[in-house]
C-alpha cells in the first residue's frame, strides 16, 4: 500500500516534462526515498493498529482485527483526554491567533521604538526547551496560581507561549506583502479602521490565517513536553494520556488511537485547504451583493487560492 502511494506521488511530481534520462531517474529515486522516509513511520503505526497481535512491535501483523480501535475508544483516559485536548487546542488557537494577529499587525504597520526587539521577543520561546517552559510554568502555577494547575485555561495559556512565535511570523510575513495603501484607501472611502481591517486586510491574509490556525491547533493538540508538567496524572490531555499509557503497556491500543488522530489531522488539513479556497470565494461572492453584472468566478478562485 505504501509503495503504491509513494510511486503515484512521485510519478505526479516528476510527471512534468522538465528533465530526461539520468537526471529524471535520480530525481525520481530521491523523491521516492524522501516520501518513504516521511510516510513509513505512519504506515507502521496504521498497520499495527489493525493487527490482532498483543504487542505493537512494528512487524507485519500475524492477523487482522479492529479490537484495538474499540479498546482505544473505550479506554477512559483517552475519552476524557480527547475532549480535554480539543478544548485546550481550540482555546489556545483562538487566543494565539487573536493576540498574534494584533502583534503581527502592530509590528508590520507601525513604527515605534523597540519594534525589532518586540519581534525578537515573540520568537524567543522557540529557543527554550519545552520541558523547561513546562517546569517554569509548573513552578509559577504552584506558587502563584494554584487554580490554573490542571485546567483547560492554564494549559491553553502555556500552549499560547509555544504557538505565538509561529503565528506572529506567519501572519507577519503575510502582512508584509500587503500594500498599506489598500487599508488607507478603505478608510478614505468611509470605512472605520476596524472595518477597513476586516473588509480589506483580513480577506487578503486569509490563507495565512487558516494555515496558522491549523498548525496552532495541531501543535497544541499534540503537545506533551510542556503539558505533562501542568496536569495531574489522573486527568490529562490525550497525548499525555497516550504517553502515560505507553509507560505501562505497549499494546496496539495506542497505535489505534494514533491512527484515528492521523485520520483526524488529514481531515482537518483537507477542510483547511477547502476553506482557504471555498470560504474565501463564498465571502467575496456575498460581498459582491446582487447588483453585480457578470460572474468572474475563475479569477476569484485564483486570487484566493
Amino acid at each position: 500500500m505504501t509503495s503504491r502511494t509513494t510511486s503515484r506521488l512521485t510519478g505526479r511530481l516528476t510527471g512534468r516534462p522538465t528533465g530526461t534520462g539520468l537526471g529524471a531517474a535520480a530525481r525520481g529515486v530521491f523523491l521516492t526515498l524522501t516520501a518513504g522516509f516521511v510516510l513509513l513511520p505512519l504506515a507502521v503505526v496504521v498497520l499495527s493498529s489493525f493487527s490482532a497481535d498483543e504487542v505493537a512491535d512494528g512487524g507485519w501483523p500475524n492477523g487482522w482485527s479492529l479490537r484495538w480501535f474499540r479498546e482505544a475508544l473505550e479506554y477512559e483516559p483517552f475519552r476524557v483526554g480527547l475532549a480535554y485536548s480539543l478544548q485546550v487546542a481550540a482555546l489556545a488557537t483562538a487566543i494565539s491567533l487573536a493576540v498574534g494577529a494584533a502583534a503581527a499587525y502592530a509590528i508590520a504597520r507601525y513604527r515605534f521604538p523597540g519594534a525589532a526587539l518586540l519581534r525578537a521577543v515573540f520568537v524567543m520561546p522557540l529557543s527554550l526547551p519545552r520541558v523547561v517552559t513546562g517546569f517554569c510554568l509548573f513552578v509559577l502555577y504552584a506558587s502563584l496560581f494554584p487554580t490554573a494547575y490542571g485546567t483547560v485555561g492554564g494549559i491553553a495559556f502555556a500552549h499560547c507561549l509555544l504557538l505565538l512565535p509561529f503565528v506572529v511570523s506567519v501572519l507577519g510575513a503575510a502582512l508584509a506583502g500587503l500594500d498599506p495603501a489598500l487599508e488607507e484607501a478603505a478608510r478614505d472611502l468611509g470605512a472605520s479602521p476596524p472595518r477597513a481591517f476586516l473588509r480589506i486586510t483580513l480577506p487578503q491574509i486569509r490563507p495565512a490565517l487558516i494555515a496558522a490556525a491549523v498548525f496552532a491547533f495541531i501543535t497544541s493538540f499534540d503537545e506533551v513536553d510542556t503539558s505533562v508538567f501542568l496536569m495531574p496524572a489522573d486527568q490529562t490531555t490525550l497525548p499525555v494520556a497516550v504517553f502515560l499509557r505507553l509507560e505501562q503497556q505497549q499494546d496496539p491500543t495506542v497505535t489505534a488511537m494514533s491512527s484515528l488522530l492521523i485520520a483526524g489531522s488529514l481531515l482537518l488539513a483537507a477542510a483547511a485547504a477547502l476553506a482557504a479556497r471555498g470560504v474565501g470565494a463564498a465571502l467575496v461572492a456575498r460581498e459582491a451583493g446582487t447588483g453585480e453584472p457578470g460572474e468572474p468566478k475563475e479569477t476569484r478562485g485564483e486570487r484566493t487560492a
Binding site: 495603501a181 478614505d188 472611502l189 451583493g289 447588483g291 468572474p296
Partner: protein, 360 residues
C-alpha cells in the same frame, strides 16, 4: 469672497525631527482644478495626505467648505483620494471596488448599482464591471480608481500623481480626460504632481511647493510670466537668469539690480552691431524643433544663453557672433528669497542631445 472649498491654514509637519511642511497655506476655490506642483520630496504628497486625514498636521488647520476638519478622521471627511498606483482592492471586482465607498455609508442596494454604473460609464469602464483589478491595464486601473473616489460625491477630490504610472502617450490623453471629468462633475480637484507641463495644461491654479513651502500660487500664466522666486523661475518652463541688469556681458533693459529672468522665446537674434541689442554672443549650437529653432549661445564671459527663435525666419551658424535683443517688458524681476535650493527642477532641457547633434 465665497468660502473656499479647501483651506489649509499654516499647516506644518515634522517627520523624524525634519520639517517636511512649513506653514503651508492653500486655498482652493469651489469647482476649481488646483495642482500642487513640486519636485519629489517637496512635501506635496504629505500635504495631500493631511487634507485626506491620513496624516495629522503638527500645526495649522484644514477646513473644507468652511468646516474645520483638522481633527476629523479620514473616514468621516468629505474628501476622497485617488492613490498614486490606484490602490484598488485586489480581491474585489471593479464593480465592488467602486461600490465599496457607498456600502460603508449604508446606501440602498438599488441606488448603489445605479451610481456605480453611472460612474463606470463616465470613466468609460462600464463593460469591465465584473473584472478583477489584476486583469486591467494601468490606464484602466486609474480610471476605476477615479470612479471609486468620485462615486461618494466628495466635496473635494484629491489626486496623488494620478498619471505618473502611465506611459507618455496615455498620460497626454488622460490629462484631457481628467480635465473633462473635473468640468463634468464640477467638483474641486486637488492634484499633486511633479510634472509642470501636466500641471500647466490641466489646472486653473497651481501652488508651487519647494522644501515644504509654498513658493507661489497662481495661474500657469502668472507663474510663467511673473515668477515670485528663483525656484519658480527655474522650475516652470525654461529661463535665462541673470544676477543683475549688467551681468554676463549683457546690459538688460531693467532698472533693477537683483535677479532678472528672460525666457528663451523673449530674446531676439539681431546683427552683432544692431543698436537695439543688449549685447553680443557666439552661437554654440542651433537645433531645429519644428516651429522653433533652439539656439544655444555663449556670451563674452562664457555664460550660456538659451534662445528660441522662429525657425522659418532665423539662420544661425555655429561660431557666428550675433546680437541679442529683448524688450523691457519681457524682462521679469525675480524677488530673491532666502529659500534654500533644496531641489533641482526635474524638467531638463527638451531634447538637448538632439539639438547638439543637429548642430554639429
Amino acid at each position: 469672497m465665497s468660502v473656499p472649498a479647501l483651506h489649509a491654514d499654516g499647516v506644518s509637519k515634522w517627520f523624524d525631527g525634519r520639517r517636511v511642511l512649513d506653514a503651508v497655506d492653500i486655498e482652493v476655490r469651489e469647482g476649481e482644478f488646483f495642482s500642487l506642483l513640486g519636485p519629489s520630496g517637496c512635501g506635496k504628497t504629505t500635504a495631500l495626505r493631511i487634507v485626506a486625514g491620513l496624516d495629522a498636521p503638527d500645526e495649522g488647520r484644514v477646513s473644507i467648505n468652511g468646516t474645520d476638519v483638522t481633527r476629523t478622521p479620514a473616514h468621516r471627511r468629505p474628501t476622497n483620494l485617488v492613490f498614486q498606483q490606484g490602490a484598488l482592492f485586489p480581491h474585489l471586482s471593479v464593480f465592488d471596488n467602486v461600490a465599496f465607498g457607498l456600502r460603508t455609508e449604508k446606501t440602498a442596494k438599488r441606488e448603489i448599482a445605479g451610481r456605480v454604473e453611472e460612474l463606470l460609464d463616465v470613466v468609460g469602464m462600464a463593460e469591465f464591471a465584473g473584472r478583477a483589478p489584476g486583469t486591467l491595464s494601468g490606464g484602466q486601473r486609474q480610471r476605476v480608481a477615479m470612479a471609486r473616489a468620485l462615486v461618494r460625491r466628495p466635496q473635494v477630490l484629491l489626486l496623488d500623481e494620478p498619471l505618473s504610472a502611465l506611459d507618455l502617450g496615455l498620460q497626454l490623453r488622460m490629462r484631457r480626460e481628467l480635465r473633462a471629468l473635473q468640468r463634468r462633475t464640477g467638483t474641486a480637484f486637488v492634484c499633486v504632481t511633479h510634472n509642470q507641463a501636466e500641471a500647466m495644461e490641466i489646472s486653473d491654479r497651481i501652488a508651487v511647493l519647494n522644501a515644504g513651502r509654498v513658493e507661489q500660487t497662481g495661474t500657469a500664466r502668472e507663474l510663467y510670466h511673473t515668477p515670485a522666486s528663483r525656484f519658480v523661475a527655474e522650475f516652470i518652463g525654461e529661463n535665462n537668469l541673470f544676477a543683475g541688469a549688467t551681468a554676463d556681458g549683457l546690459t538688460l533693459p531693467a532698472d533693477h539690480d537683483g535677479l532678472l529672468a528672460v525666457r528663451p522665446e523673449s530674446f531676439r537674434l539681431a546683427a552683432a552691431d544692431d543698436a537695439a541689442s543688449v549685447g553680443t554672443a557666439t552661437v554654440r549650437s542651433a537645433g531645429f524643433l519644428g516651429p522653433r529653432l533652439r539656439v544655444v549661445l555663449e556670451t563674452a564671459t562664457g555664460r550660456e544663453v538659451l534662445v528660441d527663435a522662429e525657425a522659418g525666419a532665423t539662420t544661425a551658424a555655429v561660431g557666428e557672433r550675433v546680437g541679442l535683443a529683448v524688450a523691457a517688458a519681457q524682462v521679469a524681476v525675480v524677488p530673491e528669497t532666502a529659500v534654500p535650493e533644496a531641489a533641482v527642477p526635474e524638467a531638463g532641457l527638451p531634447e538637448e542631445g538632439a539639438v547638439r547633434e543637429a548642430a554639429s
